[in-house]
């Protein structure tokens, strides 16, 4: 960032910046590698490569040059998931840019979650929604892949659509959930509840300690 700071060893980039006196507004979210708020772009000494990563997960190194990338600008398309067909046609309508993928693999190399991003893009183009959804299930939507993509693909939102198409239209529904909901709506448990809610703590405790644990004692 054009200035050198001295910080104790072993800190993450995020904590090192804070130690040096920065206070984050943008660029810090979950602080545990789950939200993608803390993208950072850096070069390490003696390495020609420009790397990207998460500031909360990457340890600082002596002589590292870096800049915070808290946001990868992109617009999310608006859709009604129940009205969509789970196929490539739908996806192309919202993300026509995916046909421009040149298989350069830059996205995969950028991904802090080590996802097979390029494979996922190709799976989508091959109309294999289920495979794609599974490949990018762990995506934290940091958008670091998109910053490196020569085809200008909006991966985080693209993958969100793919996952929802899969979850909504390709996964089978749980029958037992539907049944239970029906029971509850019909008031099947009401009588038992009113008994239970009138009980004293002692009576409840007795029921509690005597209840059977599934799979036996653990």
């Amino acid at each position: 960032m054009g200035k050198a700071y001295e910080v104790p060893e072993g800190l993450t980039i995020m904590k090192a910046l804070e130690y040096a006196g920065f206070r984050f507004i943008r660029g810090s979210g979950c602080r545990g590698g789950f939200c993608g708020a803390c993208g950072v772009i850096y070069r390490s000494p003696g390495e020609y490569k420009l790397r990207v990563g998460l500031a909360c997960q990457t340890t600082v190194k002596d002589g590292m040059h870096l800049a915070i990338l808290p946001y990868s600008p992109m617009v999310k398309p608006i859709y009604r998931i129940d009205k969509l067909k789970p196929d490539l046609g739908t996806i192309l309508k919202y993300f026509p840019e995916i046909v421009r993928c040149v298989s350069c693999n830059s996205c995969t190399k950028a991904c802090p979650q080590d996802l097979e991003v390029m494979e996922a893009i190709q799976a989508i183009r091959q109309n294999d929604i289920a495979r794609a959804a599974n490949l990018i299930f762990d995506c934290i939507m940091c958008g670091l892949c998109s910053t490196r993509c020569p085809a200008d693909i909006r991966h985080p939102y693209l993958f969100q659509l793919v996952r929802r198409l899969y979850g909504k239209h390709l996964l089978s529904r749980a029958r037992h959930v539907e049944l239970r909901v029906k029971e509850i709506v019909e008031g099947r448990w009401e009588a038992e509840f009113s008994k239970l809610m009138k009980m004293s703590v002692e009576e409840l405790r007795k029921l509690y300690t005597e209840r059977k644990i599934e799979g036996g004692e653990k």
Binding site: V7, E9, G10, L11, T12, K15, E18, Y19, A20, G21, F22, R23, I25, R26, G29, C30, R31, G32, G33, F34, C35, C56, Q57, T59, I78, I81, D82, A133, F137, D138, Q160, R163, R164, Y166, G167, K168, L171, R173, A174, R175, H176, V177, L179, R180, V181, I184, W189, E192, F193, L196, M197, L204, R205, L207, Y208, T209, R211, K212, E214, G215
Partner: protein, 555 residues
Amino acid sequence: MNMEGYSPEMRKLIEIVEETRPERLRRKYRKFSLKERKELVSKWHPDYRSDTKRRLRIGPCRGEIVYSEIADLLEAWPLIEPDSIDLSRIDYDVEILVVGGGGAGAAAALWAYYSGVKPEDILLVTKLRFGDANTVKARTGIQAADRAEDSPILHYLDTMGGGHFVNKPELVKALVSDAPLIIKWLEDLGFIFDKTPSGDMIEYAGGGACRRRLHCARDCTGLELMRVIKDEVINVGIPVLEYSPAIELLTDPETSAVSGAILLNLETEEYLVVCAKVTILATGGCGRLHAVGFPTTNHYGATADGIVLGYRVGAKLRDMDTLQFHPTGAAWPEAIRGELVPEKTRSLGGQLVNIKGEMFVYELEPRDVVASAIIRECAEGRGVITPTGAHGVWLDTPLIEELRGSGTIKKELPALYRMFIRQGIDITEDPILVFPTLHYQNGGIEIDSYGRALAPNGKPIPGLFVAGEVTGGVHGRNRLVGNSLADILVFGRRAGINAAKVAVSISSKPKLSLNHLKAYMEELKRIGIPRTKRAPILLPDYRGEKVLLRSVRVF
């Protein structure tokens, strides 16, 4: 020196653990007697110690005991001077204001919309980005009694027992009866649950539950939840304002009903005025207060703002003298300090070992006992001090592989393995350092089953709904794993639906004032709180000491 992985000094300590491993492999530490447990816990567990808490001197719950860090926030001056705020210029005029962009807030906004409120009449404001929240970090799963072998009744019993039977029954009933409905809703939205090919849920066992009841999305359930409902909020067109925390609620001078909020644009530092017929507080927990100096699993914005705002308009707090400390948070490397090391690591056989390679507790004692034992070891000098000055004891993970065969860790704890291998530590070969970490706010603002905030007299505070981790009563004094994700959606939904009903029933536009604040400030003055103490704190301050000492404020 490479600070990922272990330093040579730490390697030497690991050798000690390795030396005692063969012997430990053959035995278990004895279980403590009830008396020993009690002694240990009351001496070392923050919840049972008296020096961690104090009596509130101000506000609706004056005289009640809460954690000192919470008391400090409640006994503090507001960020604004009421008289310097121009309430005549309204920046946002809406039916429903939702404060907090986590799971509870998003669910509330969506259900208000489903209940007929136009999306543009709802406003969701949040402190960081939409979705930067504790919700996104939840890993294990979400509870709902929807298998034939299970029932809402059993879920009720488990929850009450887990909460030491002080939970509010009407809230527990709401939780367990709505939970299956929530699961169905998530399915409708396209949430990817772990399922069998025929569509049945694969459900897992969780501590304190008598049935397998945890619904999961691999090991990132909260991530999937946040992604899906955030996507839906944007799709239906509900406006979202990021980096704009609420710093004060507003009240109608005539009815005393909550009538909106003052927001702070964190980037421009200008304040914004929101007028709303109904306000839903969903600001989450308090881990970043680092109560009693503990690290935390929580996100950056978990600073109990909602507690402060609600208390100032007269809301009743409950169970704020108990916090959930997870016994095993990572203590090293620094990158993942405080992050969760799941209980499963111990149920698979990982033993807890001190610096001398000795066992000091049976690893499957209840959470509070294990946490207390770890704290004791460190306080009495038998813990390991990391290069960054943190304390910890060893959790002997390689033992799992010896006990259950190699490959067990990668199969049973893939996310944990990934978390450490990224930091240069292979937990199948080396043990890890752990220390208790602040995990969850058990109590909070008391609500009723409609999601309305209650005053100490048990009456609802008009215009104010509350949902999620910021509330109290659902979990009593201790929350079960998987019940929080159910909680935030069940009560987010209820708050949204009922807020919509209330908003429709109010025809006139509410008036705005900060009268409640003026009264509160009188009290602050009376007990002599220094003006430098201010709340809500919005974000923790992690700047280095040297910088703070030399800071010159210009901008």
